[in-house]
Subunit: 412 residues, 2 copies
Amino acid sequence: MRESANAQAFARISGAEPVVVDVQPAMDVVPGMSPNIILTSGAPMTWERYYGGQRAAILGAAQYEGLAVDASDAENKILSGEIIIAGCHDYGCVGSLAGIYTASMPVFVVDNPTSGNRSFCNLFEGKSPFRLNYGVYNRHVRENLTHLQNDIAPILGRVIRACGGVALSPIIKRALHMGDELHSRNTAATLLFNQTIFPALMKETRNAEDSARVLYEYLSGGDYFFLRLSMAASKAASDSAHGIEGSSMVTAMAFNCHDFSIRVSGMGDEWFSAQLPPVAAKLFPDHDDSEIEFMGGESTINETAGLGGFAQAAAFPLQEYQGGSVDKMIQMNLAMYQITLGEHPEYRIPYLSYRGTPTGIDIFRVVESGQTPVMDIGVAGKNGGQIGAGVLTAPLECFQNAATAYRHRYLS
Amino acid sequence: MRESANAQAFARISGAEPVVVDVQPAMDVVPGMSPNIILTSGAPMTWERYYGGQRAAILGAAQYEGLAVDASDAENKILSGEIIIAGCHDYGCVGSLAGIYTASMPVFVVDNPTSGNRSFCNLFEGKSPFRLNYGVYNRHVRENLTHLQNDIAPILGRVIRACGGVALSPIIKRALHMGDELHSRNTAATLLFNQTIFPALMKETRNAEDSARVLYEYLSGGDYFFLRLSMAASKAASDSAHGIEGSSMVTAMAFNCHDFSIRVSGMGDEWFSAQLPPVAAKLFPDHDDSEIEFMGGESTINETAGLGGFAQAAAFPLQEYQGGSVDKMIQMNLAMYQITLGEHPEYRIPYLSYRGTPTGIDIFRVVESGQTPVMDIGVAGKNGGQIGAGVLTAPLECFQNAATAYRHRYLS
């Protein structure tokens, strides 16, 4: 049974054809969203356990949304249950770093017609190292979020609708031939997306030069723009493979400020967790390892779906950004074939003679080999903000926990 | 003396900072151009020796320019000297395949402020395999050339001027990190160029939706668009290093339908030639090697300046397009370090841990090692049109001839 369940799960995750169809406020499109909910990354915890940047981001979100007048007011309302903290993944969303969705924030709407499911991701906050999802909330961050919501999202949504939606797999496929692995490097994908929507952008903004300029500046203002679309695409692919009875395939990897956690297709919505290991990081100038702080992260959905660290041999330029060497990148990428169910039929790596990326992590292959997934992640600093990038290697324990639970459920 | 002359030549070719500043009719900007001149690729020959596609292209050009009513009329006027056939390189130009410049055809104007020189390249004819530079002249080709001249060139020039010129080295540098080697693959460079000019394109075409659409279609209609700019950039770099007394560095590699030829910095404008060797090609479906025909080519200026075959380890996707394997590409790329004077300070290859591309071919290193330059080229068919792509390995003999002449001039 496990074998056929996993074959089905692999077919779903690798056969997804995600299409971004709109940009809308979370409240209007995310099922179950409510004005007093704040979504954050990783397996949900009791409020007391959130600390540092992830805690600061949640408190900032409450203020941004007008749910609280200040941080102390927000804390009280969270403790009283007036403000509800929940996990992104439970709402079809996926969070970058701290995550952070409030009701009014704009999200990409991504459909996967192959399986009929839908996912969401919020928008890249831009190049500044100081962003809400990196644990910072101040006037600058607030104004930028307002700008995204009022100036960028409406015209971006209009342009995407005018395109009749934009298919994401063809862009991801091409970007893998152009130095991206779609997690820490989205440079080519961002250019390809922009190229795709430009005719509509020109047409839709013809009588509004300011809108065109503002949107163009946003689209070309950071090579990370497409990350939110690759995340939503991977979430749509992964969700379509979730809930298959008997499947031992991983359908989500995520972390909060304490724990790294996974979900498994045949194991419902339970998270299997273990303490976060250290990250092997290359930091921006004038930073050191003592400043590194985990504040959550779900962009590892990309590795779950065969991208990021699982496609790093497509992205040798990353050695400059997150450290490491070409040989190490190749070796890590090849190691992922040991723990996956198959090779992606569309996502291919030129350096590996167009071999498909290793896709569909099997908890038993991880436990038996002792090899755990490697992930390309952004690294946050204790005072908030991005201070570098690096490679995170998942702890074995959460896969062992999942395997034990799987055996208990299916084999006892 | 040779050592210091070569150091100077290398500094010039690798220190160029080419900027495209305009698009104008050849007649208005190319020094020495005249209404009755047709420029074609490779060392100039007597008219009788031109055959096949290169001959057809020249005859087509005469008709396109209105210099002759038909092919036979054109032949007579060429034989009588009424129409003059000359080499692109002698006019600061560089030809793709057959080359082919007439007075009214638009050209990119590329300045190299570092050395104060200027070069030119005509425009990519678009995706159709049937193009004048691939030896075809018919109604479709004529209409397309007219479209380039009347519809594309004026607005493209206006946009480039509105940008205040576009620096090409930064685009080339980034594209090398994105799967391009800038000869047979210009996909990323084309996207990056488009991204750079889009704000100006939107502004300049705001009141002319048709112009915007037409120009956009041209810019995004083929991944080869940027090749003409990388060629002009390489020509500007190479020319800036030409004419240095005592230098044995190659400043041009070009071929006509018979011979492969090189120019050497310290050896004036003489071409050193040898018969063209076979090309190792991967052909489009339904073609075979018996159809391959040489019809000239000067895009090998890119290899002369450290790109193309000299940067192929940056462009593993080429294995799908022109054949070969990743290992072979790496090995060929590494072999080029044996025959070059240095490593380019800006053009770097991620796979080789960001080593600079091998730049500045020294005829003596070629002769002593027996290793000749490898070049990524488009392959034409006997009936005209592109039928594939491949790798051309230069014949040793022309380097031997150049070395003999060098010794005669400088060492006897």
